[in-house]
């Protein structure tokens, strides 16, 4: 992360409806991290299993998806899979279950009479199987405030699904709905109707109103030939340029009410992880805030070796989230997962604010021009 580059901390707004009363999410994130919104890549394991299903008609030979999990000691491919692990000098002493060729076999082969200890419950297994196909998530870590649940979260995760209705593709997520707000400058009308740019501070937030000048313009319902939105748009287009509209939004009262919620939250809770994430998927089509724990983060304290996210309430979601792999584009592009990304984002945000969390200081940092 470059401290001297362009402003890394951005105010992000996610609005998926155009209606004023509908949900919004506002927060702080670093878009450089994923170069925008992160999209999950299917993990290699997953790919293999899908291949197995796809080539189910083929018989004979050795199924490649079984090779990595094979317990045959003579198998060449097995050793390769161990060597492929990235080498980390710090982690070299750690024993990893997943890379152990013997343990990696999904089946336990027993001979003769024995008592079968269930490795995992059948319910969980069937849940995992049913989750195989749905795995593309849009992911944005950072501190976000959700209007629907009226609480703050550590990340927004939206499963990208597409359905067809009457020839239209309905997508659960549209990249255009996420945008970085520039709050360095606001825009207001003077008493005399003139236009003026202002710096966005706590005092100037929310000082822009359309009604101020529409009131006197004789815009009454009787003479409106179109809907009031179009009528308003027509007038606006004549009065305010696009660049000005952007600034007007920064100083609009709508943004103010949202921003204040976020600032209040940060002021109160600081920059520590909230241990909550916003998830929207097929199971929660209207979005839900899920309580989570960060095993990797916690294990620093109790010297454990576990990593990954845990959701006490939803085992299947926990599995799904831990399977997601994202490509981090900040610095040298490497693969990362939900937990690591959230943790790194917290460090970056903390560094960006230098621990200053009062309303004024947070807003100053966000609106600083550099």
């Amino acid at each position: 992360m470059s401290e001297h580059g362009k402003k890394p901390l951005r105010l992000i707004e996610i609005q998926e409806s155009v209606l004023p009363e509908d949900e919004w999410i506002i927060g702080i994130s670093i878009l450089d991290y994923f170069n925008g919104v992160g999209y999950s890549m299917p993990s290699s394991m997953r790919l293999d299993r899908n291949l197995l299903q796809d080539t189910g008609l083929l018989t004979g030979g050795i199924l490649t998806s079984d090779l990595t999990a094979s317990s045959n000691i003579d198998d060449q491919l097995k050793t390769e899979s161990v060597e492929n692990e990235e080498e980390d000098s710090l982690l070299s002493g750690i024993y990893k279950h997943e890379t152990d060729p013997v343990k990696a076999s999904s089946r336990i082969e027993n001979k003769g009479l024995h008592i079968d200890f269930p490795q995992s419950s059948m319910i969980i297994e069937s849940l995992l199987n049913s989750n195989e196909t749905a795995n593309l998530y849009a992911f944005l870590p950072g501190i976000f405030y959700c209007s629907g649940q009226q609480t703050s979260v550590d990340a927004v995760l939206i499963e990208v699904t597409q359905t067809q209705r009457f020839g239209m593709t309905l997508s659960s997520f549209r990249p255009e709905d996420v945008r970085a707000l520039d709050v360095s400058e606001g825009f207001v009308f003077n008493e005399d109707g003139g236009k003026r740019s202002v710096k966005v501070t706590l005092d100037t937030l929310g000082s822009f109103h359309f009604e101020d000048f529409l009131k006197d313009s004789g815009l009454s319902t009787e003479i409106m030939s179109y809907s009031k939105e179009v009528e308003l748009a027509k007038r606006l287009a004549g009065l305010i340029s696009f660049a000005e509209l952007m600034r007007a939004y920064a100083s609009s009262s709508f943004l103010r009410s949202r921003l204040v919620k976020l600032l209040d939250d940060i002021d109160f809770f600081g920059l520590a992880p909230r241990r909550r994430i916003y998830v929207r998927n097929e199971k929660h089509p209207y979005g839900r805030v899920v309580e989570v724990n960060y095993r990797g983060f916690d294990s620093v304290l109790n010297l454990g070796v576990e990593s990954g996210i845990s959701c006490a309430d939803e085992i299947d979601l926990e599995h799904q989230l831990n399977n997601l792999v994202f490509t981090k584009l900040m610095g040298t592009g490497i693969e990362t997962d939900v937990e690591v990304a959230i943790m790194e984002m917290f460090q970056l945000i903390e560094a960006g604010f230098k621990g200053k969390v009062s309303h004024r200081e947070v807003l100053n940092t966000l609106s600083r021009e550099d």
Partner: protein, 511 residues
């Protein structure tokens, strides 16, 4: 076929019809000093200014004065370099030379640009357009230096005969300030002049295809552009009428005689237009391949032109309430274009059938009937209308009100379409509405070359919806945001967002 002298007579005869000629006449009298004065170019700036930049400044200034159309001026400023001409820096030594070269080049361009308009008298019968010697004219412009010299001479002589003492005709100046390798000069100059004549006819053309035409085809094609323009002008002149004879002045809907004249003109238009190979305006794309419009499509085009004329009447008449009948009439014509066209094509007496169809529509409009088409069809019709209008908007500057009207039409059609399927959409109504609005907005923005602003559409739409709602609440127009209006409100919000982005971009273009 007419002789060149007769063509020259016609040109000089019609000069008074061209506003651009006033610019030509004004600048032909101006010397370098006056132009310098007008542009506020002090002579000391010459050292710092490249003479060729000075030439371009003068040229752009004169062209902008003549056309006020940014796109056209931009085209004319760059067409030389497309054709391979390079600035001739050695030739331009002093600032005055550069100014005069710029003037000469601009005036030559203006002359070429007005020829498609003035070469044929507006009173000529459409069926006579092809006998006006347009091929002869195009030939003498494109063929060679000698043929151009002859044209210069003949037209200038005619102008003197007709009392234009101070003006002169000169198209050789078109290369002024530019140079090109001698081996390419003849063919490139030919193509460049053809492109200008095509631009002067106001039709879009495919540049690559024009460059690839051999000489005789290029002459033929260019003449076809001019003839098609003349036929179209004649068509719209007949629709709008003049003086006391305005056959489509609501509540008039023409007469059988008017329509038989229009059908004849349409045939002429079709004859020329379907021969053009480099122009996309009269082609439709079906299953990936382009084909020339059929008679059916030309007939549909005529109905559309008449509909547009009524729509323009509707806009011109001030108070909205009184024109409900005309409003309904325009709606019916727009919505049932396909039915009307089909019924015309099936009849033996086409002119009479159009008259009867329009009278029927008028009767239905007067009893307040709505067009009888399914929302799906209406949506398709509206979209194709929109597409055509917007495509034209890139060639001609479309008034802001017209643009808004088209946008509102498209979004109204969406609302109707969804209304009909609201039960089967169930809980997906919102999502479906958003998606179809988004997609339609994208098409609109893209046709207008504003595809890049799609990113901003969601927040602009919401911002406008928020402010509009707040204004209404503050005024007490609405007390609560009701669930059952959600769909319509989503549609309105998108319509507002698109309207703002489109109008703002248009405004920026004008500045």
């Amino acid at each position: 076929m007419k002789e060149l002298t007769e063509v020259a007579k016609m040109i000089v005869n019609n000069l008074h019809l061209s506003l651009v000629f006033k610019t030509i006449s004004e600048y032909q009298k101006k010397d370098a000093f006056e132009i310098r004065d007008e542009l506020g170019l002090a002579s000391y700036s010459e050292i710092s200014t490249n003479p060729f930049d000075l030439l371009e400044t003068v040229k752009r200034h004169i062209l902008t004065r003549a056309f006020q159309d940014k796109e056209k001026v931009e085209f004319l400023m760059t067409v030389q370099s497309w054709a391979g001409f390079k600035p001739n820096r050695a030739y331009l030594e002093t600032g005055d030379q550069a100014i005069l070269a710029g003037k000469r080049s601009a005036l030559a361009i203006l002359w070429v640009m007005i020829l498609p308009k003035v070469a044929v008298s507006p009173t000529i019968l459409p069926s006579d357009i092809e006998n006006q010697g347009l091929v002869t004219l195009v030939e003498s412009i494109l063929l060679s230096d000698e043929s151009r010299a002859e044209l210069n001479q003949v037209v200038s002589l005619e102008m003197i005969n007709r009392g234009f003492i101070e003006e002169y005709f000169d198209i050789n100046g078109i290369e002024s300030g530019f140079a090109i390798d001698d081996s390419m000069r003849r063919s490139r100059l030919r193509t460049m002049l053809a492109l200008m004549l095509m631009k002067g006819s106001d039709f879009p053309f495919n540049l690559d295809e024009v460059f690839n035409l051999p000489e005789h085809r290029l002459i033929e094609e260019t003449a076809l552009y001019i003839m098609t323009k003349q036929a179209m002008a004649s068509l719209s002149y007949q629709i709008s009428g003049s003086g006391s004879s305005r056959p489509f002045d609501w509540p008039l809907v023409g007469t059988a005689r008017v329509f038989s004249r229009l059908m004849l003109t349409l045939d002429v238009l079709r004859k020329f237009a379907s021969k053009m190979t480099t122009c996309s305006l009269f082609k439709s794309v079906a299953q990936g391949s382009q084909r020339v419009w059929t008679e059916w499509e030309f007939t549909s085009y005529l109905i559309k032109e008449i509909t547009d004329y009524y729509a323009s009447l509707l806009r011109e008449r001030p108070s909205k309430g009184k024109n409900e009948e005309l409003d309904a009439f325009v709606d019916i014509l727009k919505g049932e274009n396909i039915e009307i066209t089909t019924s015309i094509m099936e009849s033996d007496d086409k002119a009479l059938t159009i008259y009867e169809e329009l009278s029927d529509c008028k009767r239905r409009a007067q009893i307040g009937e709505k067009p009888q088409i399914s929302p799906e069809r209406r949506f398709r019709v509206v979209l194709s209308n929109l597409k055509q209008q917007l495509t034209e908007a890139r060639t001609y500057a479309l008034a802001a009100d017209e643009l808004v009207e088209e946008i509102v039409d498209a979004f109204d059609a969406i609302a109707e379409l969804i209304e009909k399927h609201i039960d089967s959409l169930g809980s997906e109504v919102d999502k479906f509405t958003e998606e179809i609005c988004f997609e339609t907005s994208f098409r609109i923005l893209e046709i207008l070359n504003l595809g890049a602003s799609l990113n901003n559409l969601p927040w602009v739409s919401r911002f406008i919806a928020e402010e509009a709602t707040r204004t209404s609440i503050a005024r007490g127009d609405i007390e609560s945001l009701e669930e059952q209006h959600r769909m319509k409100r989503i549609v309105s919000a998108f319509a507002g967002g698109v309207a703002y982005l489109v109008l703002q971009a248009q405004r920026k273009d004008l500045e």
